[in-house]
């Protein structure tokens, strides 16, 4: 099953690269989003990134989160494992966090609290809740399942000099948003802007990627921001260093390393 999905993805991507100038003619809106998810959430076989998150409230006060994220794909668009180690704030240093993402059921999450030397599994039935206090939800960080929304191509337009598909996603079941509009770069299929609408059908969150870098041939959004329009709170994310295809071993994603960081990967 996973292999079939991977195959489809490869085919889709193949088509994308084969016909970069007129993809809209051949790709359905769903296929565009699928390609977007693949490039945004599943780039490379694995990834290591040192990430700086600035949580900035309306009054300009900041909280910092500095973390190293290890990510390994198990199937394109499907299973994934995340390992997150916090460097900052200093009083939470050594705190680690791990996510197993499954294609067909809720994620598993574990947290290690060093001050009481405790690993706890965290039941994650709220994928909409905030990721470490930021404006990103868990879902924003690890992606949504493609079949959860229905898609419509609204138009194609330029955004900051890049031509984009503008796609509207409407959730089929209950979701955090009632409507999402995404500007997806026609060339690299990364989301350049996303708007989330709430139950009152008002814009409440806005995502923007304002720096895209080519890393080992993989286009990567290295500077992004998620702004909560309603509260004035925003989260700025900078990928300070990013590497792909390092061959991160399966054993890293285990309780053992939660308690003692894998120094091989995280210094």
């Amino acid at each position: 099953m996973r292999n079939i999905k991977a195959l489809i993805m490869i085919l889709v991507l193949g088509m994308v690269w084969a016909k970069p100038s007129f993809p809209g003619d051949t790709l359905t809106p769903e296929e565009i989003v699928r390609a977007c998810y693949a490039n945004f959430y599943y780039a490379g076989n694995d990834m290591k990134a040192r990430i700086l998150m600035k949580l900035i409230d309306k009054g300009g006060q900041e909280r910092i989160r500095e973390l190293t994220m290890l990510r390994k794909n198990y199937a394109e668009g499907g299973g994934q494992k995340y390992f997150i180690y916090f460097h900052q704030p200093s009083d939470v240093k050594n705190t680690t966090f791990m996510v197993y993402k499954y294609p067909d059921r809720d994620d598993d999450r574990w947290l290690f609290i060093p001050a009481i030397n405790l690993v706890k599994r965290i039941a994650a039935n709220d994928k909409y809740s905030s990721f470490v206090g930021s404006d990103f939800s868990y879902e924003d960080v690890s992606g949504r399942k493609i079949q959860e929304d229905s898609y419509r191509l609204l138009k194609e337009e330029e955004l900051n000099g890049k031509s984009c598909f503008v796609i509207e996603s409407l959730p089929k079941g209950s979701a955090e948003y009632t409507k999402r509009i995404s500007w997806i770069d026609k060339v690299n299929y990364l989301p350049l802007r996303e708007e989330f609408y709430d139950k009152q059908n008002e814009l409440y969150r806005q995502f923007e990627a304002f720096e895209i870098k080519d890393i080992n041939g993989i286009p990567t959004a290295t500077k992004t921001v998620m702004k909560n329009v309603k509260t004035g709170h925003r989260t700025e994310v900078t990928f300070q260093s990013t590497e792909y295809n390092l061959g991160i071993g399966d054993d890293i994603f285990s309780e053992r390393y939660l308690r003692r960081r894998p120094t091989e990967w995280i210094k």
Partner: protein, 759 residues
């Protein structure tokens, strides 16, 4: 000069009436531009320190100034499938209402809880899935009662009541949103009962109802006064003129206010009633005119002679009233200033009308119709055996002058004792009747849950991460226990409670771990866990971003401003006995604190402007009579009325609140008029007939009739308000009638005795 004005009016009555009409049209032209502001909060400018600080606290802790509370209760207990389903359904619908701050609506179905389930921590909205089986319902109950932060907030101790907390945007109208919520719960239906409370509802409902009642009662008062006027003078034209003067002054001053771009605020919405009251001053003109006409039998001469004698007292009484109101502008409260200035303007309009419009209309009345009215009055007077009861009253005051003066002094002394017992307080919810929905809901929610009014105490420091220190949290915890000793404090919540709860949860839910941990690292990591899991705002509400400041929530079970004062004292006392490190301090904030400051500033602002106007009026009176003695004498009825009224307020133990303080300014408009009419006319008469007692009795009998007529008119007009649905109007209605009785007694009984004794 004055003579020339009314001389012109007598010569060209039609022209004067036409000019008046044109002027009125110009001012009416402004009315479509009307802007209404029903928010009593706006009595304080946005730049006032309390508003600035409250806004800052709201920003620091992601709080919302205005929150509506919807209580849901079920006699069988709310933890059952049906009620829980309804709670979820109502929450969903409320989230869709415009003006509701959706992301911060808190109910069982949105608030997150951290619980332990076997080996895992579970973070989810309490009501993520509606429990179905009995055991699931039991589990839910246990979860709720295990978390002290939820009890008294999301579930009452007896399990029969829950609440949804609905923050609304600052610009949103609390009443409009409340109406939509009422519609939602009506559709969801019984057996549950629903209670809506919260400051924005009280405020906006009060504002809206105030306008409605003003719109309803101003015309009714007007009608009642019309009827009374008719029975007094038996002449439609006179009734019309009197009302026309009132309407003209209302239209002109409201038109000017609107035209100048000021919003009609709750304070200025009372202008019509005030001006209607002040305009009854014209009754003195008609009163004198009837006497004169009977004497000279010639309308033209009667009008001119009336105006000659009455011009001076009318001028001074209106001038004094105008100055009195204008001096309200010396205070700091902007809506009170505007109110004072525009009522003063309206009073000037009344003065101008008295010199122009009134004589003009008198000239147009048919002589025959006056004669008819007079004949009826004569017949009545014959029945009363030639001397009117007023003359008898005058004689009585003179013969018993010592006793009257003594009784007066005793009353004043008693009243001053009463005043010393006045209790200054303000409670907006009590402005609604005890049976009103707002007051009932508030009472029920305050009984079942932690309290609908909210105060904050903000621990302020400059040191980053200070809040993560165990000693800081312990101090906060101890202060909370101290605050909770006040029986009117229903619940306190702080970051210490969150940390304690997480500590317990992480230790197999063992109640022994419901304490502040002993290391900063633990606290920091627990808080981090909170940030990772719950809605970040839960935490933001109690600590600021750099962890320099913490916020203690104090839920209070009453809207009395006095309770907040006690809480502030309690905190001061505690910090004095348990000294805080330097540079640390607790500052009050929140709606309860705002109401306290509002109460103090608006009330004291009102009182100090009022005292200023008293002094000014006294000075003006002395100037008018070019005499210290006569100035003081004509000031006495006003002073006596006010002292006795507030003495009564003190004795019956009624809170000295906003409506009561407005009353003082009303007495300014009335009591002083009576005294001026009395003293001026007495002095005129005494010059003509230098017999002290005769002149006093004459004054009680003739201008005194005008005073009585004026008092009756006025008292009737205001008595209508006793049927209003807001208690402040009822209070004003009752006290106004009392003020009338008192100031006419002071003028007609006490003044003659006083003058007779000391002249």
């Amino acid at each position: 000069m004055i003579k020339r004005i009314f001389g012109f009016s007598v010569e060209h009555p039609k022209l004067i009436i036409l000019l008046t009409l044109i002027g009125t049209c110009v001012f009416l032209w402004q009315f479509p531009k009307i802007k209404i502001d029903t928010d009593p909060k706006h009595m304080l400018p946005t730049t006032s320190p309390v508003r600035v600080y409250n806004d800052e606290v709201d920003r620091l802790f992601s709080l919302h100034a205005d929150t509506i509370v919807l209580g849901i209760s079920n006699k069988e207990g709310i933890i059952n499938q049906n009620t829980l389903k309804k709670i979820a359904l109502i929450t969903q619908s409320v989230l869709k209402i415009k003006g509701v701050i959706a992301q911060d609506v808190l109910s069982l179905s949105t608030v997150n809880d951290v619980i332990v389930k076997e080996d895992s921590l579970e973070v989810r909205p309490l009501l993520d899935n509606i429990p179905e089986t009995k055991s699931e319902l039991e589990t839910m109950k246990k979860v709720l009662y295990d978390n002290p932060m939820l009890v008294d907030r999301f579930i009452s101790k007896d399990g029969k009541t829950t609440a949804i907390y609905i923050p609304i945007e600052p610009a949103a109208n609390g009443k409009a949103i409340a109406d939509l919520i009422r519609k939602i719960v009506k559709e969801v239906g019984s057996p549950e009962e629903y209670h809506l409370a919260g400051d924005p509802i009280a405020r906006d409902t009060f504002g809206a109802q105030m306008f409605m009642q003003m719109g309803l009662f101003s015309p009714i008062s007007g009608m009642v006064m019309c009827i009374a006027l008719f029975f007094m003078f038996r002449n439609y034209t006179l009734v019309f003129t009197n009302m026309a003067v009132a309407m003209i002054s209302i239209f002109w001053s409201l038109g000017l206010l609107i035209g100048m771009g000021y919003p009609v605020h709750i304070m200025s919405s009372m202008m019509p009633v005030f001006l209607m009251a002040i305009s009854t001053d014209t009754v003195h003109i008609f009163n004198e005119f009837y006497f004169r006409f009977r004497e000279v039998k010639d309308k033209r001469r009667a009008v001119i002679e009336t105006m000659n004698t009455i011009a001076k007292p009318v001028f001074y009484s209106d001038l004094t009233t105008a100055v009195g109101f204008a001096s309200l502008a010396t205070g700091a409260i902007v809506p009170v200033k505007i109110f004072g200035l525009f009522v003063a303007f309206g009073t000037f309009v009344i003065l101008i009308m008295s010199y122009t419009f009134v004589p003009a209309v008198l000239m147009l009345i048919k002589e025959s119709s006056i004669q008819k009215a007079l004949k009826r009055e004569d017949i009545k007077q014959d029945k009363a055996q030639s001397t009117s009861w007023l003359v008898k009253l005058g004689n009585f005051s003179l013969s018993k002058r010592s006793a009257i003066l003594k009784i007066g002094l005793i009353l004043m002394a008693l009243s001053i004792i009463g005043i010393s017992q006045i209790h200054v307080n303000n409670n907006m919810v009590s402005w609604f009747k005890a049976k009103s929905e707002i007051r009932r809901s508030d009472k029920i929610l305050n009984k079942e849950l932690g309290g609908t009014s909210l105060a904050y105490f903000v621990l302020d420091s400059d040191k980053e991460d200070l809040i993560k220190e165990p000693s800081t949290l312990r101090y906060i915890e101890a202060l909370q226990r101290q605050l909770e000793e006040n029986p009117l404090v229903g619940k306190t919540t702080s970051v210490a409670d969150y940390v304690k709860h997480i500590n317990r949860v992480l230790h197999q839910n063992d109640p022994r771990f419901e304490v502040i941990p002993d290391s900063k690292e633990k606290i920091a990591q627990y808080l981090f866990l909170m940030e990772m899991s719950a809605r970040p705002n839960d935490l933001n509400n109690v600590v600021d971003y750099p962890f320099k400041k913490a916020n203690i929530w104090v839920q209070v079970k009453t809207w009395d401003a006095g309770v907040m004062r006690k809480l502030i004292q309690a905190v001061q006392k505690y910090t004095l006995n348990h000294p805080l490190p330097k540079s640390l301090k607790f500052k009050p904030a929140g709606i309860a604190y705002f109401n306290m400051v509002w109460n103090d500033e608006v009330l004291w602002g009102m009182i100090s402007s009022f005292l200023a106007s008293l002094v000014l009026v006294l000075g003006l009176l002395m100037f008018e009579y070019r005499s210290l003695k006569w100035g003081i004498i004509s000031f006495i009825p006003l002073l006596a009325t006010i002292i006795i009224i507030y003495g009564m307020v003190g004795w019956i133990g009624k809170d000295f609140d906003m409506p009561i303080s407005v009353l003082s300014t009303l007495s300014l408009g009335m009591a002083i008029d009576f005294a001026i009419h009395f003293v001026s006319r007495f002095k005129q008469r005494y010059k003509e007939v230098p017999n002290l007692e005769e002149a006093l009795v004459w004054t009680v009998g003739r201008p005194g009739k005008g005073i009585i007529r004026n008092a009756i008119l006025f008292a009737l007009g205001f008595a209508v308000m006793m049927f209003a649905s807001l208690t402040p109007y009822i209070t004003v209605g009752i006290f106004m009638a009392l003020i009338m009785v008192l100031s006419s007694i002071a003028t007609l009984i006490y003044l003659p005795a006083l003058i007779d004794k000391f002249f």
